[in-house]
């Protein structure tokens, strides 16, 4: 993708991340909150990939670390995906357990730990 500047990818990633963060604060349905977290994770993935793709140009003089870093970006994305999958499985299990106890999953009413 020549002629697409790096900041375009970064800007999109930043926008999606901010949107997700706002969603986490605003929404009260825990599943939607969860989806907003997924959105944030994906925004970060996009940023990683964009940086990795353009990485040679960042350092000026290409050191050996910069040479290797373009695979590191993809590796991080793979691990983020794995962690996200585990997180979703456990998180949805927790939501199911809460729903079974209270028949309701409004996130603002989950305040048992508030002294």
């Amino acid at each position: 993708m020549d002629s697409v500047p790096l900041v375009a990818y970064l800007g999109l990633g930043l926008f999606l991340f901010t949107t997700g963060a706002v969603g986490v604060i605003v929404r009260r349905n825990p599943i939607v909150v969860f989806m907003c977290i997924e959105l944030m994770l994906n925004a970060v993935n996009l940023t990683f990939l964009a940086f990795a793709r353009y990485s040679h140009a960042t350092g000026g003089a290409a050191t050996e670390q910069v040479q290797q870093s373009f695979m590191a970006g993809q590796m991080i994305v793979i691990f983020v995906m794995a962690v996200a999958a585990a997180e979703v499985a456990v998180g949805l299990g927790i939501i199911m357990a809460i729903f079974r106890m209270r028949q309701d999953v409004d996130i603002d009413k989950m305040n048992l730990l508030r002294g």
Binding site: V7, L12, N29, E38, S55
Partner: protein
């Protein structure tokens, strides 16, 4: 700063990015959780397209397999199982949180953008080899340099599996 020349690549990127941003907003703004989820599915598709545009073809297809094929189906399953999609749940009172969080989000965006974009503005050339995202390259790196993190990730997934089964089980 002069506007970059409008090439097919840039137009492709613009279309994908615009749709991704739109659907990203949709996840937060739509009231029905099922529609939020669908918006997120579309968003993941656009992101997969962007990964392809970065030549990360393996990760693009993995994005579709993992996120849209598995994770989002799981989300839809839980929404439908708990019947959270009905009219009753969609009433979310609009209180002070909304303008406050919008302000916060805008502040975050402005803060990072102001610090980050200026020094990176000049980078417009990709410099990695074009086959950097092929399954072969990815596999070799994953199983040589990153083999221990890879094993740890598999242990994490196993833990997630066992944990979610324990959480979802009714009787112990």
């Amino acid at each position: 700063m002069q506007m970059p020349e409008l090439t097919p690549n840039l137009m492709f990127f613009g279309a994908l990015a615009g749709l991704a941003a739109l659907t990203g907003v949709g996840v937060v703004a739509l009231r029905d959780p099922v529609r939020s989820a669908l918006s997120l599915v579309l968003n993941f598709f656009m992101l997969a397209g962007l990964y392809f545009s970065l030549n990360a073809e393996f990760l693009g297809i993995a994005q579709i397999v993992v996120y849209t094929g598995a994770i989002m189906v799981l989300f839809l399953f839980v929404i439908m199982l708990l019947n959270l999609g009905g009219q009753k749940q969609s009433i979310e009172p609009r209180d002070f949180k909304v303008p406050f969080s919008l302000l916060l989000g805008f502040g975050l965006f402005a803060l990072i953008a102001s610090q980050l974009f200026q020094p990176l503005m000049h980078i417009t050339k990709v410099a990695t080899p074009s086959d950097w995202g092929s399954p072969q390259n990815l596999g070799v790196t994953l199983f040589t340099e990153y083999v221990w993190p890879f094993e740890l990730a598999s242990v994490l997934l196993l833990l997630g599996l066992v944990g979610s089964i324990m959480l979802a089980k009714r009787r112990f």
